[in-house]
């Protein structure tokens, strides 16, 4: 069994040097300079609020919303942790952009054959035995790569050793069913623009609660309708036949009278 990998981002160690964002661009062959927001050419960005530097990137959910909503299954949660995208399947419906609770996937809006773009936790590099480019580039250890279990242990240790520095919460441990990317911070992450109202259960369960009923509704609904049709149809046939009989009987009576 492969151990699920992850990234631990400690915003208290981040100095906003942007080396992770630039390394990401290089590793993924993306054009351009530093960007303010996630885009089809920036899979990660470093942002600043009240002197706190923090990163935005794909959280690599344990039960990814993007994977669940995609009608063609273009997203895959690999056993190693990264959530990757298969462009050849994608029809471009952009439901993943609409549904992702973290607002991560981006789209190549100006291309004729556009793709969805997002961080892959350098899945290709991982397969070659390397670590994600951002973690490799980070000079302060604000982003580290490792087994998710190990990282959670490490995060707990840091909070315990410095309870005044950190908010006692590992963002991503439980959010939306847990994510492979974990974030430590000195302020609640809601204040940095991360969604703060996420349930601990994975979001795909919300859809599944309705969708799981579809086959039974279709089968029983169909059978029920057929039953109704059959009953009404038979009653009408019987009624009509009786009428016909009555008519022919009265006709016979008339015929008899005429004969007499």
């Amino acid at each position: 069994m492969v151990k699920t990998k992850g990234l631990l981002i400690d915003t208290t160690k981040c100095i906003g040097c942007q080396l992770c964002a630039l390394a990401c661009k290089e590793a993924n062959g993306l054009p351009g300079e530093e960007e303010e927001e996630l885009s089809a050419t920036a899979y990660t960005v470093v942002k600043e609020k009240d002197d706190i530097y923090y990163r935005r990137l794909c959280m690599h959910c344990n039960d990814p919303t993007c994977r669940s909503v995609c009608p063609v299954g273009a997203f895959e949660k690999t056993p190693e942790g990264p959530v990757i995208y298969h462009a050849h399947k994608c029809i471009g419906c952009r439901y993943c952009l609409q549904a992702c609770p973290f607002g991560v996937p981006t789209y190549e809006w100006h291309k004729r054959a556009p793709k969805v773009r997002k961080c892959t936790m350098c899945y290709e590099r991982q397969k070659q035995g390397k670590i994600p480019a951002c973690a490799e580039a980070c000079p302060t250890g604000a982003t580290i790569f490792g087994d998710r279990d190990e990282l959670i242990r490490e995060a707990r240790k840091r909070i315990k050793e410095n309870p005044d520095l950190y908010v006692d919460h590992i963002y991503g441990e439980k959010e939306a069913g847990g994510t492979s990317v974990l974030i430590l911070s000195s302020v609640p992450l809601e204040t940095l623009g991360f969604p703060g109202n996420l349930p601990d259960r994975p979001l795909p369960e919300l859809t599944w609660a309705a969708l799981k009923n579809v086959p039974s509704i279709a089968i029983f609904g169909g059978a029920f309708l057929y039953g109704i049709w059959w009953i009404i149809d038979r009653r009408m046939e019987l009624a009509e036949y009786k009428n016909k009989q009555r008519e022919s009987k009265s006709k016979e009576d008339v015929d008899k009278l005429v004969d007499q």
Binding site: L38, S39, A40, T65, R67, S68, V69, C70, P71, V72, G73, A74, K89, I91, G92, C93, R94, Y95, L97, Q98, A99, P101, P105, T106, Y107, E108, W109, H110, R112, A113, P114, P195, N197, L198, L203, P204, L206, T207, W208, A209, A210, L211, V214, I217, A218, G221, G222, L225, Y226, I228, W229, I232, D233, R234, M236, E237, L238, E240, Y241, K242
Partner: protein, 403 residues
């Protein structure tokens, strides 16, 4: 071409040409420069007018097809037959336009068939895609009898006639799945969709409101066809459909109230912000107003009253679907969205094409022709004769006991 064209129609012809021209320009921009060149969509606002109106609302407006097919064929309400064919035509055209709209909206229209081969059963959109494909096929067969009738092909018409019931039931099942799955699409965005519209009951609310707007569309298009082509209105039938519409709307309103009650969102109703106004407009104009109108018997029995109620219902439905799919997301997205002129132009072009093809179909196909009395088969099957004998036997035995 036909001679008796009043001036008004010529004006509409010019308007139609202009709309088509604008739509054509927009289409060229869309398919050469990508979605970004033609739309105001962005990473933060990925679904706009094309999804909200052309697809989600369009499917709803086609709901008259399955509602009436169920009433006429399954529940044997044969007196609705005169309005069934136009309803099927509307539904078929609606679905074809939804597909054209989808071809504009998806980023890779060349891969539109992928869901057939790579289905993800956990995706509400997969269900939507399957329903679009299969129900459009069903509607094509339901509609095809008109063409066969005009061409005088008795064989194919008879074959379709033989499978009418399974076909209609399949259509009702697919529509039920489809209308509700459009609501299921939004179950996964609890934090993003504004509180008035996010509900675990969205699939059911979408289904019931689709039935309502299906009824309203039948009244609406009957009225318009009467004005445009002089087809005689079946007043009693439309009044009956108005009564069904009333019942469905009341059901919908009760479900809405129950939903708000369960979620305890009363306090939000009076916060002065755009969403609040849109919400009240949707409920007051689109649900309460038609309920009030239809509750008055005099209004229900008058052509204009019925027409007004149906227009209210349709407007309310449009607002609801657009609120759920677009405006309800503006607050959480952090950006503002208003469709570009090209998004609006293609949408108008689709609607105009729909009306145009409807008019052509009505002119050249027997859409408003129907047999006066649809009588049942005369000769009962042997099984029925047996059943009748059994019945008379039981009758006589009961009589026997009396003596």
């Amino acid at each position: 071409m036909s001679v008796k064209l009043p001036f008004k129609i010529t004006f509409w012809k010019v308007a139609l040409l202009l709309i088509w021209l604008a739509g054509l320009v927009a289409a060229i921009v869309r398919f050469t420069g990508g979605l970004g060149a033609a739309t105001n969509l962005s990473d933060k606002f990925p679904w706009g007018l094309w999804v909200g109106f052309d697809v989600i609302t369009g499917v709803g407006l086609a709901a008259g097809g399955f509602t009436l097919a169920a009433a006429v064929h399954v529940f044997h309400v044969k007196r609705f037959y005169p309005v069934l064919k136009p309803a099927i035509l509307t539904a078929f055209l609606g679905y074809v336009l939804v597909i054209v709209g989808l071809l504009f909206d998806v980023g890779r229209p060349d891969k539109i068939y992928n869901p057939l081969f790579m289905g993800n059963f956990h995706s509400a959109l997969f269900e939507v895609a399957m329903c679009v494909m299969f129900y459009t096929t069903v509607l094509f067969f339901e509609f095809s009898t008109n063409i066969f009738e005009r061409l005088g092909w008795r064989g194919p018409k008879r074959w379709i006639g033989k499978v009418t019931i399974p076909l209609v039931i399949l259509g009702v099942v697919l529509s039920t799945m489809h209308q509700s799955s459009l609501g299921s699409l939004f179950l996964i965005v609890p934090g993003k969709l504004y509180t008035f519209w996010y509900s675990a009951g969205l699939p059911l609310l979408f289904y019931v409101s689709a039935i309502a707007v299906g009824c309203a569309m039948v009244i609406f298009e009957s009225h318009l066809s009467f004005r445009a082509f002089g087809h005689r209105l079946k007043k009693d039938v439309l009044a009956d459909i108005g009564r069904i519409l009333l019942v469905v709307l009341v059901m919908y309103l009760l479900m809405k109230i129950y939903d708000f009650y369960m979620r305890g969102v009363w306090s939000e109703f009076f916060i002065p912000r755009m969403e609040t106004w849109l919400f009240w407009l949707e409920i007051l104009a689109g649900v309460i107003a038609p309920i009030v109108l239809l509750s008055i018997k005099k209004v229900r029995l008058s052509t204009r009253g019925l027409y007004a109620a149906s227009v209210c219902t349709i407007i309310g439905f449009l607002l609801n679907r657009l609120n759920v799919s677009t405006t309800g997301f503006i607050a959480s997205s952090g950006v503002s969205y208003f469709p570009s002129w090209m998004e609006i132009a293609t949408t108008l072009a689709l609607v105009a094409s729909g009306i145009f093809v409807f008019a052509m179909a009505v002119r050249y196909l027997p859409i408003f022709e129907y047999p006066e009395e649809t009588s049942h088969k005369v000769k009962p099957a042997p099984v029925i004769e047996e059943a009748l004998e059994l019945e008379t036997f039981q009758d006589s035995s009961a009589e026997g006991k009396k003596f």
